[in-house]
Each structure stands twice: as C-alpha cells, then as structure tokens.
C-alpha cells in the first residue's frame, strides 16, 4: 500500500540567472513497511528532495507535480497545515543530527517544547523507553547537549524525531560521518524502530550503496535531478541495468570516499549544470553506450523486471 505518492515533482531554486532545476520531474511512491533508499552523487537532488518535504524555504520553490499523502496533495497546503504534517506524519533525522539540539537547553526542555508545539504532553515513561532503545540512560534528559558525545547527541536526536510515531521517517545521510561499526549500530536501531512499528516507512538517503544494501527494501537512483533507476534493492545491486547505476556500483570499493571530493571512477566528466540541463538523457555525455537519440529525446521508462524500472533508451524491456 502506498503511503506517499510523488508524481512528476519539480523543485527549482530561484537564482539570478534563472531557475536551477534541482528536482525535475520525479515520480515514485513510498509503501507501507518499506525502507526506500535514495542514492546518487552529491548534487543529484537528494537534499533538495528531503528539504522539500521538511524545510521548503526560499529560494527553493515548487515548480510542478504533486505529492499525495493520505489523499491530500501536500504541495497545495498552507504553511500552517504543512507545519502540522511535519513531525506528526513526516519526520526527519537530519544530516547534522549530531548538533541538531540547541546547546543551551536541557534535553527534557527541548522535548517538552517541541511536543507542546504540536499540542501534545510529554509521556516521560515513553521517552525513557525510547532512550533505552538507543542505549541512552534517562539521566540524559537532565543534561545539556554539550555534555553528551556526538554519537549520544545523534541517538538523542533519533529519539526526539520519532516520538510522535511518524508515518514516514527520513534519515538523511546520517551514517556518512560514522565509522563502520557505529554505522552498523545506527542501522540496527533504525531497524528496531521499524520492527516496533514506531515508524511505518523509512526513506534512507545516502551516497553509499553498501550501507543501503544493509537496510533498504527498494532503491531509487537519482542523477542530475531525475530518476534513472528504481527497483528492489537486491535486484538493483545484483543486476543493475542503467549504465549510471553500473558506474555507481563500480565505484563501490572506495565506499567511504565522498563523491564530492572524488569524482566517479570509470566515467569521465561531471554531472551537468542544472541551470540549463542538456536535452535528452541527462547522462548522455558521460554514458558509454549513448546514441544520437539520447541527446535529443528524454528517455522512456522501461520495465526491466518485477517492480524494477529504468529510464534509458538503450535498455530492452
């Protein structure tokens, strides 16, 4: 069952020289009980997508398409209506989760204040229970964030983000700064949230496919603001179809190198500028199998397997 349906979503940034088309016609769904992984190089539109759900702010703007959550198109909601949906329906563990809590307020106060904003009282028994789930003692409540280590702060943030049992939890690059064993630990905790039905579904965003493999049920690969491939995790990893996905997988051995710092191995060139993206397939100038048609027309969606779709001219169904 789909919790969230995104259809032909376009999110642009207003700049002096025109609109930067950071998300340009993206279609996907989030199903109940699944973990949807979203992967791609930095600048592919991952962060824009996240921010559009939780922090839509100037100069970002909605340029088209719909996002249906429980029969309501949230792109048409007012600021106040959106405010209610955030945290209660869609919540986030941000990229900066290690310093997401105000340093001069006790954790207990932060929790109380955020809950009050949504008209709720704090059930401290529940809070303590949740803290225990992430291996934090209840003493943490009466401490200031500065007294905790980075990891402890991240776990406290995880508890705060999920207190209202959101339908969808977005985990944004939360493992990037961690070492491998801590990564594993964080992922186990997230899985715990899923098992205990604290969150219905999860969106896990990363540039690191090897981590995604441990947690995601389905995966969506983004390139330059467009979906290139979407399908079951297992199948995409074992049988990638799109040339870009293949390149991304090929770069796996160096999994902890950030794409920002190191360009994709195996394919020369940069992702295109999104101010004036090229016509046709956005990957064509780096693609090893590109034909003339790829430069002219946008690639069609091709079904390549059960629940597995690819946007490419050169792929057969």
């Amino acid at each position: 069952m789909d919790i969230l349906k995104v259809d032909d979503l376009k999110v642009y940034y207003k700049t002096l020289r025109g609109s930067v088309k950071a998300i340009d016609g993206v279609t996907f769904t989030i199903r109940k009980g699944e973990v949807l992984g979203i992967a791609g190089e930095s600048g592919c539109g991952k962060s824009t997508l996240v921010n559009f759900f939780v922090l839509p702010k100037e100069p970002m703007y909605h340029a088209g398409g719909s996002v249906i959550l429980e029969d309501k198109d949230i792109t048409k909601l007012s600021k106040d209506e959106l405010r209610k949906i955030r945290y209660e329906k869609i919540s986030i563990i941000p990229q900066y989760s290690m310093d997401a809590l105000s340093p001069t307020k006790k954790i207990r106060v932060i929790i109380r204040d955020i809950m009050r904003e949504h008209g709720r009282h704090v059930d401290y028994r529940l809070v303590e229970e949740r803290l225990e789930m992430v291996n934090l003692s209840k003493r943490v409540l009466d401490m200031y964030p500065v007294e905790l280590s980075g990891g402890m702060r991240q776990r406290a943030t995880m508890v705060v983000s999920t207190l209202l049992n959101p339908k969808i939890l977005i985990a944004d690059e939360i493992t990037s700064a961690l070492d491998v064993s801590t990564q594993k630990f964080v992922i186990e905790m997230l899985m715990g949230f899923m098992e205990k039905k604290i969150v219905d579904s999860m969106v896990f965003i990363t540039h690191d496919l090897s981590i995604l493999y441990q947690i995601a049920t389905r995966v969506m690969i983004l390139y330059a603001g467009k979906v290139v491939e979407i399908g079951p995790m297992e199948e995409v990893i074992k049988r990638p179809v799109h040339p870009y996905t293949k390149a991304l997988l090929y770069s796996l051995p160096e999994m902890n190198v950030r794409f920002k710092e190191k360009r994709l191995e195996g394919i020369p060139g940069h992702p295109p500028h999104l101010l004036n993206p090229p016509r046709g397939c956005r990957f064509h100038d780096r693609c090893p199998i590109a034909k003339n048609r790829c430069e002219e027309e946008e690639p069609p969606m091709i079904k390549v397997g059960e629940d597995h779709y690819v946007y490419c001219w050169e792929v057969k169904a």
């Binding site: 207003k14 002096l16 100037e58 100069p59 710092e261």
Partner: protein
C-alpha cells in the same frame, strides 16, 4: 568558470546593494569635500582675500566678528574667537580622514598579522599571542591613549594615528584568528599542506584570497573606530597640539559655553559630519556583508 561566476556574483550584489552604494557615495563626497575644501574656502572667504587679509585661509586665524551666525561671508558662522567654522570643519575633516586611514590601516594590519600567525601556527605561539590580545582587550584603550597622550608635549596627527593604531587591533586579531582557523580546516588548505607547499605559499595563495573580503570589512570598521577614538581624544584635550580637528572644535565649543549661548552652528556641524561619516562606513560594511554572504542576500 564557476570561480569566475562567483566573483561576478559578488561584484553584482555589491554594486546593486543600496547600502553599499549609498554609503560609498556619501563617503566619497566627504573625501571630495576634504580635498576641495581649501579651494571652496577661497570662494567662501573671498571678501577677506580681496581685502588683503592674507591669513584668512588659516583655520586658527581670528578673522571675523566673533559669535556671528552663518551668513554668505561665513557659511557656517564664526566661533567665539571669530574663527571661520567652515574652514575649521574642512581641515578637521581632513585630519579625521587621515587618522581613519592611518590608524585604521595600522590596526587592521597588526590585527591581521597577529591573528593570522596565531591561528595558522597554533601551539605555544598561539597561546602567547592570544594572551597578549586578551590583555589588550581588557585594558581600556582610551585610558591608555589618555595617559600616553598626556605625557607627550608635542602631538601631531601622525602620532595620534599611530597610538590609535597600536591600541585598536586586539578584536581584529581575535576575529582574524578564528577566521583563519576555519579556513585552515577546509579541504583546499589541507590538500596544499599534504602536498608540501611552503607555508607562505599556502598563506598568500590559499588563505589570503579567501579572506580578502573579510579584511576589507575589518578595515572599514577600524577606519570608523579610529575616527571616533581620535575625536574623543581631541575632545579631552589630548589631540594635536597644532592645527585643528573636529574633536578640538567641539572641545572649544564646550569650554567657551557654545551650548549655553545657543551657537548651534558651532556645535552641530562637527559632530554631525563625524556621525554621518561613521554611520556611512557602518552602512557600507553591512552592505558588503550582504553582498559577500549569500545567506543575507535578498532575492
């Protein structure tokens, strides 16, 4: 290409920023007034010059009738001694601008070097320099200026600028240090370091260009700060022993009861010109901040 666009961007935002442009226009017109002042005074005091009063262009000469309000002969009136207020104002503005440039420049330079060395080298040197900076920060600068100036029998604009420069640097040093630390921790400097580039090359090739805009803003603030410090010193009676300055004008005005006598033409212009000048400098600074810092830009 990206670098070029970025530079282009900043320039664009700078030149379209109302605060920057407005403030800059005012400052430049003040500079023009200071430069053309003596020439304007020739027009103002033509009556005296035509009648052979040679010392008419000396701001300390008692040429006119004392206590006269503004007129076509004395654009801003005369003071209790019959000195021409406009002439004094023009010369005062000159010395204020000079002090701003020299004092502010010196303070910026010292602050820059201390902060840079401190932040870049770290360790013992950092500890010592920051100790020195903190000490200088707590000692009230004005008090030090007072005691130094009080014992100097002859004081010129130069000496005043230099002592202001030597006492005004600490906060700049602190700010520059933290800026250097944040730049140092960024990737490109690290990259240069591990590839064994010489420290000087890193400083001037990598860090300095990134700090240029910042330094410019610091200088503007120091420029205004030095002008204010000098005016205060002059007012206390520790300004230049010869010639005139805006602070000295105001000190004389207070000592000779210009307030009680309602000689507004003597008390308003000198302070107004300082206030406007310093406010314009602050405005340029905020304008630059908006231009250099994308977060503050208004779309």
């Amino acid at each position: 290409m990206k670098e070029w666009l970025k530079k282009h961007d900043t320039l664009y935002f700078m030149l379209t920023n109302k605060r920057f442009v407005g403030g800059m226009i005012f400052i430049l017109s003040m500079v023009t007034l200071a430069i053309l002042g003596p020439w304007l005074a020739k027009i103002e005091l033509r009556w005296y010059l035509e009648n052979g009063v040679k010392e008419a262009l000396d701001p300390t000469a008692n040429i006119g009738i004392p206590y006269s309000p503004p007129s076509s002969q004395h654009w801003l009136g005369t003071n209790s001694f019959g000195q021409d207020v406009f002439l004094q104002l023009v010369y005062g503005l000159r010395s204020s601008l000079l002090i701003g440039i020299i004092g502010g420049g010196l303070a910026t330079f010292i602050g820059l070097v201390v902060g840079f060395v401190s932040g870049y080298s770290g360790g013992m040197i950092d500890e010592l320099l920051m100790m020195l900076t903190n000490i200088m920060l707590v000692i009230p600068t004005m008090a030090v200026l007072i005691i130094i100036a009080a014992y100097l029998p002859y004081r010129g604009v130069m000496i005043e600028s230099v002592i202001i420069g030597f006492t005004g640097w600490p906060w700049t040093a602190r700010a520059v240090r933290s800026e250097t630390l944040s730049l140092k921790s960024r990737g490109f400097v690290h990259l240069a370091r591990i590839s064994a580039v010489k420290p000087m090359r890193i400083i001037f090739g990598e860090i300095a260009p990134n700090m240029l805009s910042y330094v410019f803003m610091v200088f503007i603030l120091q420029f205004g700060g030095s002008i204010l410090a000098a005016v205060g010193l002059d007012f206390i009676g520790l300004g230049p022993t010869r010639g005139t300055s805006l602070g000295l004008m105001l000190q004389q005005a207070v000592l000779w009861n210009a307030i009680q006598l309602g000689m507004w033409w003597w008390i308003i212009p000198p302070g107004a010109i300082i206030t406007a000048l310093v406010a314009a400098l602050y405005t340029v600074n905020t304008g630059l901040d908006e231009a250099f810092n994308p977060k503050l830009r208004e779309m």
